[in-house]
Every structure is written in C-alpha cells, then in structure tokens.
Symmetry: C2
Subunit: 322 residues, 2 copies
Amino acid sequence: MAAKKAGGTAVGGPDTGAQRAVEVNLIAVLVAVTGGEPRLMTLDGGKALPSGPFELEHRSLQSGLRDWVEQQTHHPLGYVEQLYTFADRDRAEGVALGRVISISYLGLTREDAARPSGDSWRSWYDYFPWEDWRSGRPPVVDAVILPALNAFANLAATEAVAAQRRQRIALAFGLAGNEWNEELTLQRYELLFEAGLVAEAVRGGGEGGAVLPGREMIADHRRILATGIARLRAKIKYRPVVFELMPPAFTLLQLQRCVEALGGRLVHKQNFRRLVEQQELVEETGETAAELPGRPAKLFRFRPAVELERSIAGTKLPLIRT
Amino acid sequence: MAAKKAGGTAVGGPDTGAQRAVEVNLIAVLVAVTGGEPRLMTLDGGKALPSGPFELEHRSLQSGLRDWVEQQTHHPLGYVEQLYTFADRDRAEGVALGRVISISYLGLTREDAARPSGDSWRSWYDYFPWEDWRSGRPPVVDAVILPALNAFANLAATEAVAAQRRQRIALAFGLAGNEWNEELTLQRYELLFEAGLVAEAVRGGGEGGAVLPGREMIADHRRILATGIARLRAKIKYRPVVFELMPPAFTLLQLQRCVEALGGRLVHKQNFRRLVEQQELVEETGETAAELPGRPAKLFRFRPAVELERSIAGTKLPLIRT
DNA sequence: ATGGGCAATACTCATTCTGAGCATAAGACG
DNA sequence: CGTCTTATGCTCAGAATGAGTATTGCCCAT
C-alpha cells in the first residue's frame, strides 16, 4: 500500500500491487404501494433484493443500479436515494481475501399493471409481520417476540447488560411508557437478530432457537430492507415522497391508505385531510371517483410546484425574527 | 479479481485483465465547536479532510475511518455517522482506468485543548462564508452571489432552463417569499459550483470567472463538507447530537451558542430555554458559572437517560388513538 | 320517491405549541 | 448606591393538534 500522506496528494496514489480485491455491490430496495399494501420488488423466489456489481461501464453508482434493476426486473426505476454503505469481510464465499462493499438504495415507483413482473412484488410485511399495526397490535408481539426477548435479556452475562437490553426492548417495542414508534424498524430487526430470533441469525450454525414468522432473505438483504422501511417511514413525514408512489390522480382516502400502508398504522382521517390540504400539497383535478359505495370522492393531483418547494421545507428552531 | 454474478452467488472468474482498480476511500468531516465557532479538522494547510484508503486490515468501515483519523490527526473520534458514498471515474490522476469509491462520515467531538493539533481546526465558515447568518445577512450574498447567479440563470440555453435555475436560486437563497433555510448548504454549494463561482469548479480549465470568497479544498472535499454541515444542521433539530459537542457541564447560553454556531443563525433565548427544559434534555448540576459579566448562570449536564430515550423520538403523523 | 347505508366533507372545541415581548433577579463595578 | 450585563420568570395572542359531531351526496333496495 502506498504510504499515503494525509489527504493532500491525489487521493489514491500509485497502486503498489497489493491485492486489493475490493468488490462493490449495488442493492436496491424497490418499493411500490398497490392495493393498500407496501410492496417490494424481489428476486429469487422472494429471497433476494435486486442487486449487481458496480462495473467500469457504469457512469455512476446510480446509473449502475438502474441498469441492474431494469435488467433484472424489467421495471424502470423512478425516485432513488442512497441508503447505506457497508462492508463485510466474508460475504463472497469462494473468494479468498475479498472484501465486499455493498451500497444500498431506496427506490420508489408505481407497480405497473401492464408490465408483468411475475410474482416478484411482495408485501414487505411478509418479511416483517410485527411491523404492521394497521389492524391493531400484531399478536406475534405478545405471544412470541416479547417473551423471547425477555429471555434474551435475562441471559445476559451481567445485570448491567441485561438492564441495557431491557431498555432497548422497551424502546423498540413501545413498552414501559414508551409509545410504539414505527420508525424503529431497523432497531427492532437488529434486536431480534442479536437475540437469535430471525433465521438469518441462526444460519451460520447458531443455537437454532425458535424462529419468528416472517420470510427470510439471503445474506443481509433483510437488514437492508429494514433500513429502507425505516428511512421511508421517517421520510414521508417531512418530505412529500408519497408522490412517487401514487398514480397521477387519486382520492384523499387513497393517499391516506398509502401513508398507512407505509407507516403500518392508521391515521385520523379528518386530521389527515386537514394536514394535506393546509400544506397545499395537492389540488383538485375537478373529476370525482366513485368506485366505492358512498359519496363519490374528489380526485386530486400533486401540485407541480411542490416537488421543489415543499420538498425543501426543513424543520424549526426557535429562531429570532430580524 | 472475481467477476461476480448478480444477487449474491460468487462466481470466481479469471481476471480478464480489465483493470478493475477499485479503490475505496474513507473521508471524515470531523466537527467540534469551540469558542462559539463550528470547527473542522483539516489537513494539508486546510485544504483537505482527513482521509485514507479502506484496507484489508480494517475490521469495518468505521474502524478503518477511526484508524486513519486518529493516525492523521492524533485526535480520537467520538460519535460517527455515515454521510454519503459516491464514485468518480477520474479522481485519481495517475491511475489509468481506476475507480474511486469515497465513503464519507460525519464525526463529532470536543476540541481538546490539551492535545495540540496544530492549526488544523478551522471554522467551517472559512469555507462557506455565505452560510453564517449570525450577524445578519452576509454582505457577500447580495454583493456577489446573487448577481452572479442571476447572470448564470440568464445564460441558460432555453427560457425553461433559465426559469428552473431561478427557482433553484430562489429556494436555496431564500428569495421570492421563500425563507432562508440553513439546511440547504449542499444545494447552495452545488448551485455555486454549477455556476462556476467556486474555485473547484473552474479548476479543470473552466472560464475562470470571478470566484467567491471562501477557502478552496482538494478534490470534492468541500462538497463533502457541505454535505456534513447540511446533515448536522438538520439533525440537531430532532436528535440530541449537540451532546457530543458540549463539555460535561455547561450553561444554557453556551448550549445556545453551540446550536447557533452550527445553524449559522441566532435563536430566541427565552424560547430556546423553554424548549430545552420542556424536553427534559438537561438537568442542573447545582453549580453556577460566573465568568461573564452579569448574573451567574446555572450549570447543566445532559440527562444520562436521554442518549437512548429522547434520541429515538420520531416525528408525528396524525395518528389515531386506539 | 323514499329512506338507509356509506363515505366524503364541513365544522367545533379544548389543548398544546410557538413566537414575541416585558419584567425581575443577581452579581460586578465604579 | 446606581448601572451594566446576563440569567430567569411570566404573559399573551395566534397557530397547530387531537378528537369529535354534523351534513352532504350518491347508490340501492323497498
């Protein structure tokens, strides 16, 4: 390795020939919401996310990702944002001293009815049944998860560690005065992973304890999915990203169902409308839709300007007015 | 180097000779706040951020980063979070067909008076003078930036592009009914870059137009810094990260000055206190500090529990109470 | 054509948050 | 003892929220 002087000289000096078998992988969490369910593009019978190596032909990371996803799923990629980058020593099985860098992305689209993508779209709650609170607290939480997590906490070597685990459990699952926070998807998955309650954790020959319901994925794809869900759940609250998931015209109820699907919880209808309208995110198209029983609903579209405007709203500090 | 098939199965192929010299670089935006100024750890006379290649010995990306930063700056790294990963084709000057993946991190510490780190700590406003609104709207905005950006907008090939540019300018710099939004540091930098108003943009033999005040950096380090500033400015509003920047005990005014330094704007004192206190982020130590003229201020410390509790607060949807 | 069923919309109301100030308290200093 | 300076307290109006109640339209079955 070239002895590299701090920062100054050209980043990446001469390669001295040390075998630097770094491989860069691109992975996509591609989400759509159809029929009130948040869906995920999967491959390999639902066991994998679309992914592929970053190659020299690719103009950029994003375009590399687009190439792979479109090639593997025949589905165009709309809005894309980077999620996280991580490195693992041993993910590639055959390669000796390799290193894999995985760069993950979140993509949002509309599921295209015209384009048959096989059975590759699946509800993300297939993978995380405990994340769907739309019909109330999922039974699996009390029946299986919490008892198992408590056992995990009690198994800790020291009481300090046990207490810390209980804290984490209480926060992640809304116990002891804490509320359920839908944004903690990743923390919950990691807790369950550490406790050996998901298949991925016991794969490498662990204790093989009781494993929760919820589909398994290869490598750490399920963790990446959890990262994507958490990011999206946080983001819909301050950026109008739902846009990307909705058809050009929609009723407010459809919009609400979409938000509920993503968040995994129900929202107050009247207040939701008030919120949407006062933020001026949408405007009436003039049409109405009457597919459901009941009074027909007005159709809305997103205000074109919004994409730029609102999107950059930012939150608040107690500023001084000058 | 192995050619890898999509989706995880590693297929060891012969090295075809295609030079896949992927190099992975770790870069740190290391921030501290001292004397009411947000400071940045730099190297190479302030032209570079601490960085170094990710190597096989490193246990993880983060530990690799820590190694480099501690080696280059002799300063320990506290809180760390990943910022962004990007790839460039041509960053390495000498290497033929190389690719550089840069993974950037934001780190927060306290500047250690005991440990002399040379002149390596610099105010981040040295690099972005237009980002500091604490003493009012910086003169450079009206005197230089806006005229130059307007010229840039007018130079657009089509009126559509020109209009779009004006929109971006108005949003980024708080014109036409928009407020100044301190979180848009990156967007502003990119706008200025595109307009050829920062040194980095004209380096490769551009028009060499008038360049703004503000220190230059190598490669895209300044862009990375802008990313870090934007992230931190956004984050202090919903996560108690200021913690990492404050000494163990502090007055509320000191805390306020720290937040103001980061945000680049002044906050309303009484309301700031109310906010901090009602969130129960801090508790009194019992001591008071009387270094300034005026009534001595109570000293506070962060509530130990906060790190876990509040930190995972999450924002709100109009939820239904069940 | 009439009355129910079902959503969509419209309003209300109490509470909590926020933005802005005014007022008072406590040391330090001449 | 006034005065300067910063720390703290307290007030108040307006905006934002959480939870409901009331009305309005359409379709359908009687």
